[in-house]
């Protein structure tokens, strides 16, 4: 019988009441007295020198309050990067300045040049259109390999080249890996592209700056996954505002997928302009702006080699990846192709020798940073594609080849620096075979053939490092912040509880799941617990939501704070019950003395804490509120096995996804329904990447796919019914809840399954196509099968 409350119950998402009734409060719903509106003038060339910005006509247009250009920001700090990668020669990465408004040069289409603040949105836009920017266009670099060629135009004149870093991991293993590949019985090589994506959250970015002259306090309302990170980056590095004078609020946020982690120029602009003008300033991104100013995702070009011995054991993996950084370093961009990618190249397999080389490259394109999965989908895709290709080349069953090479003993220290604490890859593969009904595949293939379609089956595994991350470790790896989290459990006098958490909920359902945990620990009804998030003035601290970390890291902080609360409450209960603290038990919201019938209710204790008439004031303070910071001891390692069946139309190359199953190991699960929803959404994005999505630049750096006419998002009829299972749970060993994180798994695990399935379908039709780059549009598939 499934639980109906607490940990393990599929409690309905309480936040959906407001989301589904249109009563959410998003940043764009915030309208302040006297607010002005900003419209940005953005570059329509990819690379150029600004000769002049003529604002004379615009300044006299109706409603214009003030026009800002780069000159106004000359003394303002650069938008900082939060992670410094050290290259394989021990040198720090090349790190260019990233101005709020362009300083003399534009470096990508969409780079902000000037900003008009006016009384209305329309007036700001009209005036922006009257600004004449004279730009001498320079040759642009778009292709990463061309950007690294001698004599290529430089994105940043003050850098040595367009190479951000040349990273080797593990550099000490390089010679041994080279040797193993040379001596291997078989080497499978695959060159592939991990296509550039645009996150496209339903809610575009919005920022409202509000400066209070009387107390010299700035407030920024923004569409962020992590308000404290924005306060830190913008306050300390860009605008020089101390924390106590800067409040950052991220109210309801309509989806983030990574692209709302980062600190953006527009946030700094509205905060700065509000101070300068002494009135609130608001910016709401249009969808077109979102395409050319939200950080993009992925965009790796990789060559991977997998070496096997004569018994088909993996002996070495060597990769060479070009990772696009775009024109500037976005907040966490350098970490994505390195520490979030190289460390995952062992996958689920006991490959003893691994060497990963990544060249991060500046180009005249929108900056690229973390997008759902961030580095881990890129790692999974190349590894699971090359294994499939190896199986095909060797004529062995791809599932058997994987099983043979699975890591089976835990903890397992990979040759790429991470230690997996738990997992059972055989169990998830067994489960996958069962829920996918793999034994029925051949019959289904025949049915498809009878309809004139080629059916293919693709299977893959994945592993991810989530619960980001141990601070001392990431500090050594170049992070310029700690990655702990924090929570305050505030028990009110009548026993209800507010939990202030550093994680931000923008679709993940924290408002439902976090109270489930507290309710379980104390034994009270979930409705007695609310969480508060998204406001630096209300929550203790927090590094926010990304990297499937909320429950594993912030949830652990919450558990630690709740444990402190319970310990104190037991002391109070011991006093009330005239018993020894050691004998007090808390169950179902009641304190009792072990072995007796003496008890008192949760509410009696909480009331005593706030009305301390009969209270041990000499020993304990009144009140019942505790804060905990939690720094994880390790990453968590969710893993799983995914399968996809497709039909390919031999006449047109059109692919339809017929069946899709996911067997995940997320450790313990707090709310199975929400976990399933997260997996569904992740798979939809993974299928989107595999089948439809792709940001396309022309050779001059014009973004051609900058609207939904040309950037195809997955729709309901592109997606199958999913079969998902998370019953193979090996709980995380180092966090109190035993949870691993589920937010990114679907997006990480699904693209290789789709591509493997299409390759298999083509093979069944007699077309031996080694690889097709995503997205697998009918055009690409048809071209590949008719090559």
């Amino acid at each position: 019988m499934p639980k109906d409350h607490g940990i393990g119950a599929s409690s309905k998402r309480r936040e959906d009441v407001r989301f589904l009734t249109g009563t959410g409060r998003y940043t764009d719903d915030i309208n302040l007295q006297g607010q002005a509106y900003v419209h940005f003038v953005r570059s329509d060339v990819a690379h150029g020198t600004i000769n002049s910005i003529d604002t004379s006509e615009a300044e006299n247009m109706p409603g214009v309050v003030r026009i800002f250009t780069g000159a106004d920001f000359a003394a303002v700090g650069s938008i900082p990067c939060g992670w410094q990668v050290t290259d394989r020669f021990g040198e720090a990465m090349q790190e260019p300045a990233h101005p709020v408004l362009a300083q003399g040069k534009v470096r990508h289409v969409g780079d902000p040049i000037a900003a008009v603040v006016a009384e209305t949105k329309e007036q700001a836009r009209d005036a922006a259109e009257a600004i004449v920017v004279d730009i001498d266009e320079l040759p642009a670099v778009v292709n990463m390999k061309e950007a690294l060629a001698d004599g290529a135009p430089k994105v940043h004149d003050d850098l040595k080249s367009n190479l951000c870093y040349d990273w080797g991991f593990v550099e000490d293993n390089k010679a041994a890996v080279d040797e193993a590949i040379k001596n291997a019985a078989h080497v499978t090589t695959l060159e592939l592209v991990n296509n550039r994506l645009v996150a496209n959250p339903m809610e575009p970015r919005v920022a409202v700056g509000d400066y209070g002259f009387a107390n010299d306090e700035s407030t920024l309302y923004t569409t962020s996954q992590n308000p404290h990170v924005i306060r830190l980056l913008m306050g300390a590095f860009v605008l020089n505002i101390p924390e106590h004078k800067l409040r950052v609020v991220a109210p309801d946020v309509g989806g983030g997928f990574g692209t709302k982690i980062f600190h953006y120029a527009e946030e700094a602009f509205v905060t700065f302009a509000s101070r300068a003008l002494r009135r609130p300033v608001k910016w709401t991104s249009t969808r077109s702006e979102a395409f050319m100013s939200d950080a993009h995702g992925r965009d790796h070009v990789t060559k991977i080699e997998l070496a096997l011995d004569a018994d088909n054991n993996f002996t070495a993996v060597r990769t060479e990846t070009y990772a696009n950084m775009g024109a500037y370093l976005s907040t966490f961009a350098p970490s994505v192709p390195t520490w979030l990618h190289g460390t995952l190249m062992a996958g689920n397999y006991k490959t003893p020798l691994i060497y990963v080389n990544v060249k991060a490259v500046f180009t005249n394109t929108v900056p690229v940073d973390a997008y759902r999965g961030a580095g881990r989908p890129e790692a999974t895709f190349q590894l699971e594609r090359v294994i499939d290709k190896a199986a095909r080349e060797l004529g062995v069953d791809p599932i058997a080849l994987r099983r043979q090479n699975f890591i089976s003993e835990f903890p397992y220290a990979t040759p790429v620096a991470v230690e997996y604490d738990t997992g059972d890859y055989t169990a998830t593969m067994d489960k996958l075979e069962e829920i996918m009904d793999l034994s029925g595949f051949e019959a289904r293939r025949k049915e498809s053939e009878a309809k004139g379609k080629w059916r293919g089956l693709g299977v893959n595994c994945y592993i991810e490092a989530c619960g980001i991350a141990p601070s001392n470790l990431v500090g050594q790896l170049g992070a310029r912040a700690g990655l702990y989290d924090a929570a305050t459990v505030r028990v009110n006098a009548t026993g209800s509880i507010s939990v202030m958490v550093g994680a931000h909920s923008h679709g993940q359902g924290h408002e439902t799941t976090f109270p489930q945990v507290i309710a379980e620990m104390i034994g009270i009804d979930e409705s007695q617990v609310d969480i508060v998030h998204g406001d630096t003035s209300k929550i203790p601290f927090g590094m926010g939501t990304y990297g499937s970390r909320s429950l594993a890291v912030c949830g652990s902080a919450m558990v630690r704070a709740a444990e402190k609360v319970i310990n104190k409450a037991k002391k109070i209960a011991a006093h009330l019950l005239e018993a020894s603290e050691a004998d007090i038990e808390l169950k179902d919201g009641k304190f009792s003395v072990a072995g007796t019938d003496k008890e008192c209710a949760w509410g009696d204790v909480t009331l005593a804490a706030y009305v301390p008439h009969n209270y041990p004031l000499e020993d304990i303070e009144p009140g019942l509120e505790e804060t905990a910071f939690y720094d994880p001891a390790n990453f968590t390692y969710p893993s799983g096995a995914y399968a996809c069946e497709v039909e390919v139309d031999p006449d047109t190359g059109k692919v339809t996804i017929e069946k899709f199953a996911a067997a995940d190991d997320f450790g313990n699960v707090v709310n199975p329904m929400i976990v399933e929803g997260q997996v569904h959404g992740g798979i939809a994005q993974g299928i989107g990447q595999a089948m439809l999505e792709g940001a396309v630049y022309d050779a001059e750096g014009q973004l051609l796919s900058a609207s939904y006419m040309d950037y195809a998002m997955p729709r309901a009829d592109d997606l199958p019914f999913y079969i998902v299972d998370h019953s193979c749970a090996t709980p995380c060993t180092h966090n109190p809840l035993g949870v691993k994180g589920c937010g990114e798994a679907g997006a990480i695990g699904s693209p290789p399954a789709v591509v493997n399935a299409v390759i298999d379908a083509l093979a069944s039709g007699g077309k031996n196509v080694p690889h097709i780059d995503m997205p697998l549009t009918p055009h690409r598939v048809w071209k590949a099968m008719n090559a």
């Binding site: 329509d44 060339v45 259109e129 014009q702 051609l704 796919s705 609207s707 006419m709």
Partner: protein
């Protein structure tokens, strides 16, 4: 974006060539052309209002004629700035060859778009460009081939006036 086509014009290469270099003819034939000034030697400046998908904009630009092989071929190079709509620039190589009493006009356009019009997607732009090129050369053909007799009498539209003007000027020279 690349665009290549040809059409046969029922006039001698000399007449077609002269028309191609005549700002009045160009003004009349370029779809949406509001102003056109200048000369072959110094280049032309033009103002063109055009609608591409949902974007309507006034393009201000200049046009140069280069690589002139008298009476045979030239390259028309231009750049237009549409303000917030973006920009377009490119070139068209136009070649004339005698064809059974008429002229075979071949054009090969290579154009680049930036800003909003690029972001709308090349599939729209290709279609629009093809339509504009068709429209231009259709009008050009009409002007050069001259009006039918009854058309001159009945129609005093700008295009017909230009046709008459062009033909009479050409016959005088």
């Amino acid at each position: 974006m690349e665009l290549a086509d040809s059409r046969v014009i029922n006039a001698s290469p000399d007449i077609v060539w002269a028309a191609l270099l005549d700002p009045e003819v160009l003004k009349a034939c370029i779809p949406g052309c509001q102003e056109m000034e200048g000369s072959v030697e110094d280049g032309f400046t033009a103002v063109v209002v055009q609608k591409i998908g949902p974007v309507k904009a006034t393009f201000k630009g200049n046009v140069q004629l280069t690589d002139i092989v008298e009476g045979q071929s030239c390259k028309i190079v231009g750049e237009g700035k549409g303000g917030p709509a973006g920009f377009a620039k490119g070139g068209a190589v136009v070649t004339l060859a005698p064809d059974d009493g008429g002229t075979l006009l071949t054009y090969d356009v290579d154009a680049k778009m930036g800003g909003k019009i690029a972001q709308l997607g090349s599939r729209i732009i290709d279609g629009v460009a093809r339509k504009l090129a068709d429209e231009f050369f259709q009008k050009f053909q009409n002007v050069v081939e001259g009006p039918e007799e009854d058309e001159v009498a009945a129609d005093a539209s700008e295009e017909t006036v230009v046709k008459k003007g062009f033909l009479s000027r050409f016959r005088k020279s």
